[in-house]
């Protein structure tokens, strides 16, 4: 890891510079530049297969870009392994929730605090359960028996257990009923209001732009547009392509 990158502003927590990622032979990310400031919600919107999930996996170290640079909290983390990035402060809620279905809710949450000491873990657990009171009622129930919304809460709670400074959320509204989607986005806002920086990937562009401060539009591996969330929501091209207007 090298030192501070290129003298950027102190409040930039994550910066991607010309990042290229390959999935086998598919050039999934083609020179992405992106910036997240501390305390922001930034959203990545785009159609299926645009590279949104790939972008998150690249940030969390599950994929490594052969070209480009990723700077997290002032340090170059381009080649840092995923499990070390968790310690560095990046929490990842994967697409499709991926909770441990056979383990109990409590065991799931404990797994999330893997990198923390036992004492820190009980404190983190209390925080997560205050945020998601419904999980408290289900602590000894197995993860797979939860409803979709509860599973999403568990997945977010599990990621928060590592006390990240940057939370990556991949499609949190996937497969949820409209009321639950609303609830999840409320929760995202609340987590952010407590000081968490969030990089949010969503297909539900309208909702994502509602809660986010800024947004990037991704199309076939390239960023084609970036603006404030309200600016993107007002953009005619974006409205036509992603918000379902004609």
């Amino acid at each position: 890891m090298t030192g501070d990158a290129n003298g950027t502003g102190g409040d930039v927590i994550l910066r991607l510079e010309d990042v290229n990622t390959y999935y086998g032979r598919i050039h999934a990310l083609q020179g992405i530049d992106l910036e997240v400031q501390r305390g922001e919600i930034v959203t990545l919107i785009g159609a299926n297969g645009a590279g949104k999930t790939t972008a998150l996996k690249t940030v969390s170290g599950l994929l490594h870009p052969p070209m480009g640079k990723i700077i997290f909290d002032g340090a170059d983390v381009t080649h840092v392994a995923a499990h070390e990035l968790v310690r560095a402060g990046i929490g990842h809620v994967p697409e499709g929730r991926r909770i441990f279905a056979r383990l109990t809710v409590l065991e799931n949450l404990h797994m999330g605090g893997f990198t923390r000491s036992v004492a820190e873990r009980s404190e983190d657990l209390e925080r997560a359960l205050t945020l998601f009171p419904r999980l408290r009622e289900r602590l000894s129930q197995k993860g797979g028996s939860l409803s979709g919304g509860e599973q999403q809460m568990l997945a977010i709670g599990r990621a928060l257990m590592s006390r990240p400074r940057l939370l990556l959320l991949d499609e949190p509204s996937l497969g949820l009923s409209p009321i639950l989607v609303q609830q999840i986005f409320e929760l995202i806002k609340e987590i952010n209001s407590q000081g968490m920086t969030i990089l949010l990937v969503e297909q539900n562009a309208l909702q994502a732009l509602n809660v986010a401060h800024r947004g990037y539009v991704l199309q076939t591996g390239k960023i084609i547009l970036s603006d404030t969330a309200s600016g993107l929501a007002a953009n005619a091209d974006v409205r036509r392509a992603y918000l379902g207007e004609i």
């Binding site: 499990h83 968790v86 028996s145 409803s147």
Partner: protein, 571 residues
């Protein structure tokens, strides 16, 4: 019962007795098969009740009993119909045997069917030959009818009766084994009374039957299980202590009174328990299916052989106790060496890759290439016993290996138990459940998986080292794929991830087949049938761990109070 039967009725829209006839025909096919492949004639040489009933007759009777039981469930509603259905199915199954007798006596089919001998026909007709061809049919009808009648009795009668029969069969099978140690002690009078040299005495059989029924009825009356469950935790713990002491006495002291053959068998069982515990870490906890276990077994066995043997290939002539830690360490090093390149492989592919390693080591061990160091097929001989005692000492035979394997197994169990609740154990469980997520939660995949693989390898090496001391030599033909398969099967039959499950699995899969060596290769047929039945009816294993039980018994949990009604539906 009536519900179940009518449900089957609805399912079969054809003639109501069609299902019964089909069961009978199936029973007949099974019975004829048992005769012609030689199971019945071979088993007939071993009596169950001395001078009265042989194991061969028992096998055929069991076919009839199952036919009767299944036929009763497929019969039209009504008690008379159920018993009639059983008798009909039994008669059909028995008629198949009768037909075999008639055809066999008239036309000599021995040119095709080796086992279709006059001896077999005598067995089936109780010595009457062609004149008694009707006997199997009548016997089948009677037995299956009785089984059907028992199957529709209320459970307070049915269970004690079944229990009594099972007790007679089990005691009859193990009669020789139980008799030998009893003869030497104060119980010799009882032993002579209950057991003949080759099975239960007729009086012994009746006593066993009555006692088994009595204890079963008594247990139901007194509601032992319910009472234990209702006890306060402190009292239950107080009950546990004597149970543990009794268990320890059986495990530690009883083998001393048993003969050398039995000691050899339980030493082998203890060895497989030890290796089962080892693989349980790799497979049960970390979810890595390792089919190359025998590779590390071989490394351990050859390490001990080379370091201790005074023979031509020995290099050090160390005592066993100095060599055995090296067996584990070198196997562990091999685990690291072989594990590193393949641990990036996932799931089923990892199993195939490890299978490859097992084969490579097996072939290398017997190869000409290493013959000058490992002895090739002739192997390393004269491996000394760990404890040098005079021949009449109680530790002279395989007993000492039994105690060593037992102690090592206890050590491995302790390590596995402590690890399961540790940080490393949780990392393994996370990897088993979801590799990607485990990584995203901060778990180092390579390091964690490699540790699981290396620990499994170390315990396999320990097992191999003890094995070479048990046998006194290590030859390349001992390095068999079957060793790996056995260890995996033990874990699956016992219950994945469960420590007591491994003990039960090893006793069942290693001990029982060894005890029935005289039944020659048929025991592997039953081994296979038992495995299939197990996977079909109890996939979680005999003594499953908490997590697996949770997974395979979802309905219990959904019905639990507090669970949401729409629990599994996506919200």
């Amino acid at each position: 019962m009536t519900d179940a039967r009518s449900a089957v009725m609805v399912a079969t829209t054809r003639h109501p007795w069609g299902g019964v006839v089909r069961v009978g025909l199936l029973g007949g096919v099974v019975a004829v098969y048992l005769c012609l492949v030689g199971i019945v004639p071979t088993f007939a040489e071993r009596p169950l009740i001395s001078g009265a009933i042989s194991l061969g007759h028992t096998a055929l009777a069991m076919a009839a009993v199952f036919s009767g039981y299944l036929a009763a469930r497929r019969a039209p509603a009504g008690n008379v119909q159920a018993v009639a259905a059983g008798a009909l199915a039994g008669a059909i199954a028995g008629s198949a045997l009768a037909l075999l007798v008639v055809v066999g006596e008239v036309v000599d089919v021995r040119a095709v069917m080796l086992q279709a001998s006059p001896a077999l026909y005598d067995l089936l007709t109780l010595g009457m030959g062609l004149a008694g061809f009707w006997i199997p049919a009548v016997a089948g009808a009677v037995l299956a009818g009785a089984a059907a009648a028992v199957s529709i009795l209320p459970s307070s009668y049915r269970l004690p009766l079944s229990w009594g029969l099972v007790a007679v069969v089990v005691l009859g099978l193990f009669a020789g084994l139980l008799r030998t140690p009893m003869l030497t002690g104060a119980l010799s009078g009882v032993a002579r009374f209950l057991f003949a040299s080759d099975g239960l005495t007729p009086v012994g059989a009746v006593i066993t039957f009555v006692v088994a029924i009595g204890t079963n009825v008594l247990q139901r009356r007194v509601l032992v299980r319910q009472r234990i469950a209702e006890m306060p935790a402190t009292r239950r713990r107080a009950l546990l202590a004597p149970a543990i002491v009794a268990g320890l006495l059986i495990v530690l002291v009883l083998p001393l009174s048993l003969g050398g053959f039995f000691a050899q068998v339980i030493a082998l069982v203890a060895l497989y328990v030890l290796m089962g515990f080892g693989l349980n870490i790799t497979l049960g906890l970390a979810g890595l299916l390792d089919l190359g276990f025998v590779a590390f077994f071989a490394v351990g066995a050859y390490t001990v052989g080379l370091l201790t043997s005074p023979g031509e290939f020995g290099i050090a002539q160390w005592p066993f106790w100095a060599a055995i830690p090296f067996a584990a360490l070198i196997a562990m090093a091999f685990g690291a060496f072989l594990g590193l390149p393949i641990l990036g492989i996932r799931g089923d592919y990892l199993a195939i890759a490890t299978l490859g390693f097992g084969e490579i080591i097996r072939i290398l061990a017997g190869s000409d290439l290493l013959k000058q160091w490992l002895g090739g097929p002739r192997g390393i001989l004269n491996i000394p016993k760990p404890i040098d005692v005079p021949p009449d000492h109680f530790l002279a035979g395989p007993h000492q290996i039994y105690y060593i394997a037992l102690a090592c197994a206890a050590l491995v169990a302790f390590v596995a138990w402590r690890l399961r609740d540790s940080r490393l154990g949780r990392a393994w469980i996370a990897i088993r459940e979801d590799e990607d997520v485990a990584q995203a939660l901060g778990i180092d995949l390579v390091q964690t998986k490699l540790l699981a693989y290396m620990l499994g390898a170390a315990f396999a090496g320990l097992g191999g080292g003890i094995f070479s001391a048990l046998v006194g030599s290590i030859v390349s033909s001992s390095i068999q794929l079957f060793v790996s398969i056995n260890v995996v099967a033990i874990i699956i039959v016992g219950g994945m991830g469960s420590i007591p499950g491994v003990v039960v699995g090893a006793a069942f899969l290693i001990g029982v087949p060894e005890l029935f060596r005289e039944l020659s290769s048929y025991r592997f047929l039953f081994y296979g049938i038992a495995l299939i039945a197990m996977m079909r009816y109890r996939p979680e294993g005999l003594l499953p761990s908490r997590i697996v039980r949770r997974e395979l018994h979802v309905p219990d949990e959904v019905a639990a109070p507090g669970a949401p009604v729409n629990g599994s539906a996506a919200g």
